[in-house]
Amino acid sequence: MILETKGLKYSYHDGTQALKGIDVKIKKGKKIAFVGKNGSGKSTLFMLLNGTLKPKEGTVHFHGKPMEYDSKSLREIRKSVGIVFQNSDDQIFAPTVYQDVGFGPTNLGHSKEEVDELVEKTLEYIGITEFRNKPPHHLSGGQKKRVAIAGVCSMEPEVMILDEPLANLDPVGADEILDLLNELNQNNTTMIISTHDVELAYSWADYVYFMNEGNIIGEGAPEDVFKDMELLKKSNLRQPRTLEIYNELERRNLATRNKFPKSVPELVHSLKPPELMWIEVSPDVKEGDVVNL
């Protein structure tokens, strides 16, 4: 268990209760998605997970130890739990890509050479070496997002939290970011994202939390939670299209019942093999009857 919260509550100055008692357990190396509509408390929870906000009640545990809020402990936490914000424009503030990616490592107190090395390594890893000397506001949305991710990666965090990582990206940009997220996860970084894109959560995550009005209203493996129509309705979300179609197919006995398909190719695979043939049968035919083709 790398991160855990117990009865986490938070309310803003103006009295709005953003979180009303959140218990989550994040296992190391997993891909976690928090799903819910805007304003359900996802971003607030994320800021509590890396100590940017301090809970009014409840605790956040990091590696089993309750989080402390003195500046030394906070530094430690923030080094280990990196956040990529939804709006890349807010996250990239240095005049060049190089300086931006180097911002974190410099603040961690690395020497100039170490920073250089880390930045080069990260730029290469994320595949943005060619932009190194560009001012960020000339980049496309997907490129900016990669720079924002690089800025956090260069601090070598154990956990990466991404708020709506695919928002506003076109399909090509989105696919690139998705590949990057998976690659980072394979390198043993625990990945946490928030999204209101059910297709993404369903197809990408190992474990999904549903949030609504500051509460966790459901959690589980994606194939379990996303078939719970009650839960989806409560969260104002719809079922992932692939799953919806699969359910319809299965109800009509057109698909083999083994694994829930997560993508269109998987869905297609679940269809019964083409050797099976269609024939029209009048409704009064019973099993055991003989039909003339």
Partner: protein, 260 residues
Amino acid sequence: MTNILDDYALVSPLRYRNNWLKIAIVGFGVLVGVSSQSFIPPFAIALCMSFTTVYFGKTSLKFYLTILSAPAVFVLLSVIIIAFFFGSGTEIFGFNIFNYHLGVNTGGLDMALLVFSRTLSGMSCLFFLALTTPMVELFSVLKATKLPDSFIEISMMMYRYIFVFLEVAWGIKYAQTVRLGYKDWRTALNSLAMLSTTLFIRSWEQGEKIFISMSARCYDGKLIFFEEKRPIRANELVLTCTYFAVVLVLWYLTRINSIF
């Protein structure tokens, strides 16, 4: 996060009362307070205005006290200086420092108290205005001053974009904080400079974008003003007049410094 009082004013139960009445109340309090020669009328004003803001305006008392303490540092520092340097009369206490005698006498103390009470009354009037009258209501008042339209239009657009940029600024500041950008003051200065620059560039671009979108809606130098008729109610008028009368009587009784 900075507390923007305007956000509280927008949900205040006193928001939809007559603007001119509120301005008259504030103007009256500010002027009587600052011209009073005794600390009694200012304290009375502060009490009435605070009561109105908290009771009728439904501002939480805790929050009200917090914002009231904001000017405290400046006021206390200045009041202490006044107490030491100002006025004559019997010395109340004093001490020697570097062969230099510092003392507080009755005159100085009186003056310090007076200045303190004036500031308190002035601030409570300002808070009454700020917490019950959102800026969007005041634009029609501003329009009535017959100041140049360009000035009022700039004020209105500035109002709108203050909030847009505040959000940007806080977003960047969070992002910098989580990457340890405020760990010591040198780093903080550098972070702040980057923040300001990003903000500056963003605002410049925003200015151009707004002009394009305004032109797309046929902008030819006219903005609409929003004013609604809100008649003054009888009970409001009675209450205000009573308040004015009480304060004026106090002010009259205390107009010669020596009475108190």
